[in-house]
Subunit: 379 residues, 2 copies
């Protein structure tokens, strides 16, 4: 029975992960649950999964939860509590905290877990080489929990030596068929109505701008040591095929499953086993998998992220923070959709180039970008 | 430099194989060429590739060719000559002789070659377990030269232990959209105009009846030790994805390349290398991969072949011979297309069930079926 810590249990990925565990209760024991402040959801999860450890990052929310908890459950509070929670020994850590705040717990947990199921993209985007080096040092496996990158990891087990090119598929998000002019007017609700995936809010907005796809390219670069020129993105609106790998002789391998986040989570939790838990793609009915090239004029932020990835400097940390702030403002109705694009483009043209030499540098530039973005958006 | 023998060099697969060699002349040397009786084509090939050995199965044609040959080339004649030719030591034997007549040279060559590139389906259909046992005894690798089975072999390198199901794709051939009533009237030309593949005549007719797809299922059964219930067939009219494998957790892996016989030949010749020789599937334009279930009422011969496969008796050897004769008659305009179906169904209902205990049994039932088929068709 594998002991699992869930970092970010009340978010979309966290809930899906608990459902994966629900379907294989004899294989896993939930050792710990960690949430930001949604104690209502967390309390329900505690009652169902009886973890030994619970962590609530928001201190006020933690105090409220404390009243409800049994004596047997150890509660960790605030950022200090999160540090201690990250040092609990376990078999699998699911890292599904959103944003840059996942980075420190991830780096800690890498030392105390056998396997990290990593749903957080930002830690790789901002600090990919540090995270992978830390994982190598502690001999901890990282399983990307992301349909495209998980699919790619599975495909690359075939024959990495002769890979020519990889394709990450993109549904194109809810705005694929909008004209450029129409973008300024799109509302939060429209952007959040993703055609194929049910995900958290920020990642859904990032899917609409294709920032998310850019981040996946960065992940592919770090995880599989691929050069950016060998990573292509193609629109595949059915979200059934998640990645393709072209070998030297132009043979293609594709990895497909229904668009359900539980699939890559279950893969990360059960590998090398592959129990049947979720629905199959049904060839008993007519299927169509379509691919169209990325419309070039569109999606300026994808280009920005890929260019930042190639630079390999502080720009990814900066753009990630800028995106987080801008998307937050958009979700609160404070700015228009197109302002996310404008501020990212502006910051990318005006940041002081610098190397990232340490994790502290990541946080420095993250903070710098937050301030600059807020300033820009206030104007 | 690998020494290659080409059995059946003047046929469609043979010519494609020589083109594969033409594109990598420094990797391969054509040690020997073998043809049935098309000495005009064979002579051109001899001039281009300067083999040390040549074999012509038709003795009269062999005598004619002899006049033209240089002294340095050793000529083998007739069936006895073919036996000797099959005993030449080499690195790769491409077995592309059509029909059951490939079986004996294959069994011989397995002892004298490092790798067999096997384009002939009939030897596996009629004598799969004997061929595979002989290959294991002499530690010779067999690389299936057939897009679907080659694709499947590549996919199964991933993770054979947890395979749930495999899908072989079928273009459906030229008659997919015909109504049952229309089948009696279809002519040779129409049947030979395959929508996606350029192949030899018999296999093209077998594609129209789906006998060919049934044979591929038999190949998949023998090569990969798959149970027939785990082999599904699905119509994929683009012939780009050749096979799919579903793992236990319902993750699918697909293998795709442009429908070009040179791809699986090049794979068999170059593996583990994968040089870039032929065109890629181009994601720079719109692509669509469609799948539809097999229309059930249609394609009665596919069912017959699969049922014969499950029986594992002498029926596959019988049906193969029956098909060869019936297709031959159809190609000569002697019988209607639907009579291929009728005679196969008739024979399958009226053969004396028996076990195949030796290669001699294979030939016995092959011969029995030829006589019975001729008798039936004369009526």
């Amino acid at each position: 029975m594998k002991k699992v810590l869930i970092f970010g249990s009340t978010g979309s990925v966290g809930k899906n992960a608990l459902d994966v565990i629900r379907k294989a209760k004899k294989d896993f024991r939930v050792l710990g649950l960690c949430a930001y402040r949604d104690i209502k959801t967390l309390y329900r999860q505690i009652k169902e999964f009886s973890p030994s450890y619970v962590c609530v990052r928001d201190e006020k929310a933690a105090m409220e939860l404390k009243k409800e908890l049994n004596r047997g459950v150890k509660l960790f509070k605030g950022e200090e509590g999160l540090k201690e929670f990250s040092c609990i020994s376990c078999d699998i850590s699911l890292m599904a905290i959103t944003g840059i705040s996942c980075l420190k717990p991830l780096l800690l947990s890498l030392k105390y877990t056998q396997r990290v199921a990593l749903a957080n993209k930002e830690s790789i985007v901002t600090a990919g080489s540090f995270v992978l080096r830390a994982a190598a040092r502690s001999r901890t496996e990282i399983f990307p929990v992301d349909s495209e990158i998980s699919a790619l990891s599975q495909l690359l087990k075939i024959n990495k030596a002769v890979v020519n090119k990889v394709y990450l598929t993109a549904s194109g998000g809810p705005l694929l068929n909008h004209r450029k002019k129409e973008l300024a007017k799109v509302g939060v609700k429209e952007v959040l109505s993703h055609p194929t995936w049910k995900m958290g809010k920020r990642i859904t907005v990032d899917s609409a701008t294709l920032v998310n796809k850019g981040f996946e390219a960065v992940e592919a670069h770090y995880f599989f040591n691929l050069s950016y020129k060998d990573i292509d993105i193609v629109i595949h609106k059915e979200s059934a095929i998640h990645a393709l790998v072209e070998l030297g002789d132009h043979t293609l391998f594709a990895c497909a499953y229904l668009p359900d986040m539980r699939m890559p989570i279950a893969f990360a939790f059960h590998y090398p086993k592959r129990p049947s838990l979720f629905k199959r793609i049904d060839f008993g009915k007519k299927l169509s998998f379509t691919f169209t090239p990325l419309p070039n004029k569109f999606f300026p932020l994808l280009k920005v992220i890929l260019e930042a990835g190639k630079r390999g400097d502080n720009s990814l940390a900066i753009l990630n923070a800028c995106d987080e702030i801008a998307v937050g403002h958009f979700l609160k109705g404070k700015i228009e959709f197109t302002q996310i694009i404008k501020v990212m483009e502006y910051i990318f043209q005006h940041y002081p180039k610098s190397k990232i030499k340490s994790i502290e540098d990541v946080f420095f530039w993250d903070n710098w970008a937050r301030i600059k973005t807020e300033e820009y958006l206030k104007k």
